[in-house]
């Protein structure tokens, strides 16, 4: 039976992070999960907006939350880490600060909306591990990615500051997920270290150094590629290789969404999964090993 | 020496107390022999003006039953107080407010509205309310007015002795009369009757277990074992918090004690004490469980203050809307 969730894509998944959406939706569909996109959603109010006005950021987020609640599915899925955090942070403010809550309620009332604070906001990784479950995922694998060595990179905002579904210091949900589809996980100490994405555009050096450190460590640890859960991380680790090379020498290693890897394992096509959209292309996979044919 | 003058009077009450006097049966004759009854509305015809005309303190003792509910009752109470040497609050209503005092949970207007407008036994739509005064054929008839608050007798006038019970038993009545006649009087303010709780004289006392541990409360109609302590069966019985003296009439008749004799002299609020005792002995420990068990006492005020609301510490429901 198909399970339905509300879906908040966020701006990036419509732009630089298109491949994330392109891979996420079919993978979930293969797992009998349907995402229904919020009608007329707006920017979540993420990082840069928070710098201007935190209360307004919360108000922005609350409009989305209110619409999600109205849509009636029990939970809201937000794949972008920044959106995920801001939506959750808004929920925390609503709970902890009657003043902020008051402002939000007034602003929502202005446009005839209400939000009771009930709709949980979840990351696709959380949904896959804790709601769909590894067994169901394993059953869907047609082409195990055996031999593919992956550096699992979680980035910051899905584990911090709230520890919602995984360990803050050593998250393992993606490790387990990728192992389930056949990948080999390399020991990766920089799993949750900041990729610098929010700075790369404005202060290239610090931002790029953060990215370089992650790329370099993944290469050192013998990974074939980096798997990520956030469109901003993906862009930052993937889009600036020439600049990084200019400063610190080449660090070429592809960065893909974990959903793209799952799609491959489920037997979906590379183009279908948006793999052509990366700057550093992923090496072709070894010939598929037929499953369940009694090899 | 002339015979002592005795008066009986009847305020807000059911009349049962008056019956008790009659219930003295043969004894009544003995009493009548020894006293002059100057006022006894239930049995003889006397006029107010006769009493009014009597000099102050000319009545030796007045047995007044019933709560003070109306202006007329208040006036009579005050007048009889003036005319009597001893004023005796006779019966639960005069003693602690009695059943009429349960009205202290409601505003007067609500009571009048129900009784004269909304009660299902009334002619629909008629909504006739009695007038305080009415002039017809050039003559004005007046009616007393209800007070907002129902009071025990001693909340209106000074009381010398109390004879508890709803109604007082003949035995206790007799004891009071004898005390008066013999002149062997207890200290002023004494409640005539033993000063221990009812269990002492209850037949079911021996069946009481050492541990109660209430897990649920039952109503008296739920198949109960005869002879066994009501509390042991989970039925609220006011016996432990109620003054003895009735010879356990109710419990031997198959009903739990409802507390008409009031608390002992050491207790200021009978309802609070039985509440304390019963709740202390619940089995539950968690708030939810406690509430679940206590849901078996849906009306604590009506249960614990059936006869004593007027004389309870709080006396009346607070913050009731006052009358227009």
């Amino acid at each position: 039976m198909t399970t339905k969730y509300s879906y908040f894509p966020g701006c990036s998944l419509k732009g630089i992070g298109r491949a994330y959406e392109e891979s996420l939706l079919p993978v979930l569909r293969a797992l009998d999960v349907e995402l229904e996109e919020l009608e007329d959603w707006n920017c979540c109010g993420a990082t840069a907006y928070m710098a201007i006005d935190e209360v307004k950021a919360c108000v922005l987020a609350s409009r989305n939350l209110a619409m999600a609640e109205k849509l009636g599915h029990k939970e809201l899925v937000a794949p972008c880490s920044a959106c995920y955090l801001v939506l959750n942070k808004t929920k925390h403010y609503l709970q902890d600060s009657p003043a902020v809550r008051g402002v939000i309620e007034k602003a929502l009332a202005e446009v005839n909306m209400t939000y009771s604070g009930n709709t949980p906001v979840r990351h696709p990784l959380d949904v896959m591990i804790h709601s769909i479950g590894l067994d169901a995922i394993k059953q869907r694998v047609k082409r195990p990615l055996t031999g593919l060595k992956v550096a699992p990179y979680y980035g910051c905002q899905i584990v911090r500051p709230y520890s919602t579904f995984d360990d803050q210091y050593n998250p393992t949900t993606m490790d387990r997920l990728l192992e389930a589809i056949g990948c080999t996980i390399v020991h990766f100490p920089l799993k949750t270290r900041c990729c610098g994405a929010s700075l790369t555009g404005t202060l290239p050096e610090p931002g790029l150094l953060c990215a370089r450190d992650i790329l370099a460590e993944a290469i050192t640890r013998g990974a074939d590629l980096i798997a990520t859960v956030c469109p901003l991380c993906q862009f930052n680790l993937d889009g600036y290789h020439d600049k990084i090379a200019k400063k610190w020498g080449p660090h070429r290693i592809p960065t893909v969404y974990f959903t793209q890897l799952m799609g491959l394992a489920f037997g979906l096509g590379e183009r279908e999964l948006g793999l052509h959209r990366g700057f550093v292309p992923m090496q072709p996979l070894p010939a598929p090993v037929p499953v369940g044919v009694g090899v | 020496m002339s015979k002592p003058k005795v008066a009986f009077y009847w305020c807000a009450s059911c009349g049962g107390c008056e019956e008790t006097v009659v219930d003295l049966a043969e004894d009544i004759l003995g009493v009548v022999e020894k006293v002059d009854i100057v006022l006894w509305p239930v049995a003889m015809d006397f006029k107010y003006k006769d009493i009014e005309a009597m000099p102050d303190k000319s009545i030796t003792a007045t047995f007044l039953n019933g709560a003070i509910r109306s202006t007329e009752q208040e006036e009579m109470a005050r007048m009889l107080r003036r005319k009597s040497v001893f004023l005796i609050a006779y019966g639960a209503c005069a003693h602690t407010g009695g059943i009429p005092a349960l009205a202290n949970q409601f505003p007067r207007e609500q009571i009048l509205k129900f009784n004269y407008e909304d009660a299902p036994t009334l002619v629909p739509g008629e909504k006739t309310r009695p007038q305080l005064s009415c002039t017809e054929d050039g003559r004005t008839v007046t009616l007393p007015q209800l007070h907002n608050v129902v009071r025990a007798l001693d909340q209106v006038v000074d009381v010398d002795y109390y004879v508890p019970g709803c109604p007082p038993t003949p035995k206790i009545t007799r004891a009071a009369v004898d005390a008066l006649l013999s002149g062997n009087l207890p200290p002023k303010g004494t409640v005539i009757g033993p000063d221990h709780a009812l269990c002492e004289e209850c037949e079911r006392k021996d069946t009481k277990p050492d541990k109660w541990d209430f897990v649920e409360f039952k109503r008296p109609h739920q198949k109960l074992m005869d002879e066994k302590c009501f509390l042991a069966q989970g039925v609220v019985c006011m016996g432990p918090a109620t003054r003895a003296g009735c010879e356990a009439a109710c419990t031997s008749g198959g009903m739990p004690c409802t507390g008409c004799f009031g608390g002992t002299s050491r207790v200021r609020d009978q309802g609070a004490k039985i509440l304390s005792s019963i709740c202390s002995n619940l089995a539950a420990k968690e708030e939810d469980e406690i509430d679940k068990t206590l849901a078996g006492i849906p009306d604590p005020v009506g249960t614990f203050y059936r006869y004593g609301l007027a004389k309870s510490i709080l006396r009346r429901k607070l913050n009731l809307p006052s009358n227009p």
Binding site: C11, S12, K14, G15, I16, G17, R18, A19, D40, N42, C43, G45, A48, Y49, M50, A51, I52, D53, E54, K56, V59, L60, R63, Y93, D96, S97, P98, A99, V100, G102, V103, K106, A107, L108, E110, V111, C156, Q157, R160, P161, Q168, T192, R193, C194, G196, A197, L199, G201, T202, L203, E205, P206, G207, L209, C210, G239, D242, R277, G278, F279 | -
Partner: protein, 212 residues
Amino acid sequence: MKIERTIKYEADRVKGFGDEVSSVPGCEKLQACIQCGTCSGVCPLSIYMDYSPRQVMAMVRSDFKNEVLTSHTVWLCASCYQCTVDCPREIRITDIMYELKQRALQEGIYPKKFSIPVLAKEFYKMVYRYGRVSENLLAMTMFLKSSPLEALKMWRLGLGLILRGRFPLTLEKIKRRDELGRMMKVVDQVKINKLHDELKQARQHVAARSQA
């Protein structure tokens, strides 16, 4: 060699600044800082900062407002929340950094020609106008406003994005754009000072509750 005085006189302080910041929800625990340096130790960007996060905490607490608001540190914070998670005093350092960014923008005190505040402002405007952000357009605007030369250097990246279909040429907009405007107006109507008072009360309430 340019030599500046480094001693601070009382007149250099903006008294009350520290108290003001720590009365904002999320910033309350600032006063509890023990200057252990964990925040700086875990911060991935601290290597580029002119003042370490620990120093910023001390400076805010001691009312060195101008020094803090002109420091690079505030703008280098990438919101990774590592310091917030690791702080032994449960100070929400990232949120304090947000608060400082907001104050810098409100007061117009921030490093000149520094593109991060520009980005933040443009981001804000774009959301206000369209309800969503078109990242590439945003980046272009930002470079044009801060350093046009940088924008030219970015052409290769832009082209790459267009080729990979990651640079939508249409502008993302929401349908009911008026709604956002009206909502923001409501927020503006709530007087900021009054809000702060309420927030302060709320904070005490929350603190009291969390102790329970």
